[in-house]
């Protein structure tokens, strides 16, 4: 696959704009207690608050139809970035603007409630992805059969293997016909055959104009799929551009 020029895609309409985004988490030595906090506030002694910034001052734009890879080591802020874009948490500073329907696939298990049956999970997730009841009813069979889980739809997902969970999550996400698909390390699970099936599906989505943001700590799949790469290091965006040179540098840095 010949990577497209970044300059060319930048002229396309923007689907995602991340503007000087930072995220702070409060750090606790221990879980706070309501009673003690109220008492301390009454005496005017608020407990000290430590902050920790997994992401700081991140800015980039993604055009419609781009496939962008995000690479970085563990703890570099990749997953936090994806959660922020998905709307699963809020930025502490800066703003994130998204146009259209987002389908986040935030890592393994994709937020299924363990007690729920496969069927219930699909209903839940598909609704959270913005599908209507009619769309879900119409797509249910396709979702389950793509995930090869039709026989297990009445089984609570806590009995699923990690591969089965990943298959179900991936299947729901791609059937939601998203404008922007967020994939977090999803291709690292599932067997080779299913990975191949997923890649085929991703290529189809790319052809049909879906924008994809793809997170991975391994550069392999990023090289194959993406026409642009973002490299995060310690919560900072250190490179943004063509995959070839950036991934070479990334691999060299990883040793």
């Amino acid at each position: 696959m010949v990577p497209r020029q970044v300059e060319a895609t930048a002229k396309q309409p923007v689907i995602l704009r991340v503007n000087r985004v930072g995220k702070a988490f409060r750090r606790f030595e221990h879980q706070p207690f309501l009673l003690r906090n109220l008492l301390m506030r009454l005496v005017g002694r608020s407990p000290p608050q430590k902050e920790f910034w997994p992401l700081r001052d991140i800015s980039f734009e993604i055009g419609v139809g781009e496939t962008v890879g995000v690479v970085g080591r563990n703890g570099s802020g990749k997953s936090t970035l994806l959660r922020l874009i998905a709307g699963a948490c809020y930025p502490t500073e800066g703003e994130i603007l998204v146009r259209g329907r987002i389908a986040p696939l935030l890592s393994l298990g994709v937020g299924f409630q363990p007690d729920m049956t496969g069927l219930e999970c699909v209903e839940m997730n598909a609704t959270a992805l913005g599908l209507s009841r009619e769309e879900i009813a119409a797509g249910m069979e396709a979702i389950l059969s793509f995930a090869e889980l039709t026989d297990f739809m009445q089984t609570p997902v806590r009995f699923y293997s990690s591969g089965m969970l990943a298959r179900l999550g991936f299947s729901v996400a791609i059937h939601a016909t998203p404008d922007l698909l967020l994939l977090d390390e999803v291709l690292s699970v599932g067997d080779l055959r299913f990975q191949k099936k997923c890649l085929e599906r991703i290529h189809e989505l790319q052809k049909s104009g879906t924008t994809i943001l793809f997170v991975s700590h391994g550069p392999g799949a990023v090289r194959d799929l993406c026409d642009r790469v973002l490299w995060l290091r310690d919560g900072e965006l250190v490179r943004d551009g063509m995959p070839g040179p950036i991934l070479d540098e990334y691999e060299a840095a990883a040793g």
Binding site: L34, G87, C89, E95, P104, M124, G130
Partner: protein, 261 residues
């Protein structure tokens, strides 16, 4: 069109329905005797307490067992929904972290799933009509029951929102809820009638919307009397105020839920 965050639409009601029914079914499956157990529990309680109060303490309340049963079934709804709503963000942590939907849905769904249980338990009352024919009055006031129950649901919805969201940030909330329910139990006429309470203390009960709801329902079912205007006021005003406050508290802490879970 630029949007911040996910689109809001009526499909969220569908999520509410899926979670409510899931919770209800899961509970139903987990109980050895199924639904029978949740019917048996209030009846056994009623039997024991009526025996104690009519034989040992000699209560003069007419039709005491039915009086008691109504109180116990209502209280069961209150305590189970508050207790279960407390831990909801912890038990649904995975979903909260990785999918995007209005977080209010979770505590509300838990509360509503107990509302289904409550309906089933309340239907036990019909079995007692032939046994205690004097305890039930057929009257137009019965039509007010859904309205009173709607306020009960609204009140519990408010409570569920507060305790669920606070419990994410402060893990001692579960204990506080337990203690709070214990106090509330005695501030609500669950197993005693209001008129045994001496006058200065009765004012405390007047401020408790639950007391109003319990009294109103008993009056409607057992005496066929519609609640007075004052009683309506004691139900409606605190309920709406509490719900408003709880919505604001929820909005305030909502962003933190996503970081803490």
């Amino acid at each position: 069109m630029w949007s911040e965050g996910p689109p809001q639409h009526w499909a969220w009601l569908y999520i509410l329905r899926v979670i409510t029914l899931h919770e209800f079914r899961a509970r139903y499956r987990a109980q050895a005797l199924g639904m029978v157990w949740s019917l048996l529990n209030p009846i056994v309680m009623m039997g024991i307490l009526s025996l104690v109060f009519t034989r040992v303490f000699r209560s003069s309340t007419p039709n005491f067992p039915i009086f008691m049963l109504i109180g116990l079934i209502l209280w069961n709804f209150v305590s189970t929904s508050c207790n279960s709503a407390t831990g909801v963000f912890v038990s649904y942590a995975e979903m909260v972290k990785r999918t995007v939907f209005p977080r209010q849905i979770l505590p509300l769904a838990i509360m509503l799933s107990y509302a289904i249980n409550f309906m089933i338990e309340a239907s036990v009352l019909f079995l007692f009509i032939p046994i205690f024919p004097d305890a039930f009055r057929l009257s137009p006031a019965l039509l007010l029951i859904p309205i009173v129950l709607a306020f009960l649901v609204l009140l519990l919805a408010g409570a569920a929102l507060i305790v669920s969201v606070l419990n994410v940030v402060y893990r001692d909330v579960a204990y506080l809820v337990n203690t709070g329910l214990l106090i509330l139990y005695w501030l609500t006429p669950v197993i005693y009638p209001v008129d045994v309470v001496p006058e200065p203390y009765r004012a405390v009960l007047k401020c408790n919307p639950l007391a109003g709801i319990f009294n109103a329902l008993r009056g409607i079912i057992m005496r066929g009397t519609a609640p007075s205007l004052l009683m309506w006021a004691s139900i409606v005003i605190p309920t709406l105020v509490l719900f408003g406050i709880s919505w604001l508290i929820f909005r305030h802490y909502e962003r933190m839920v996503l970081d803490y879970v």
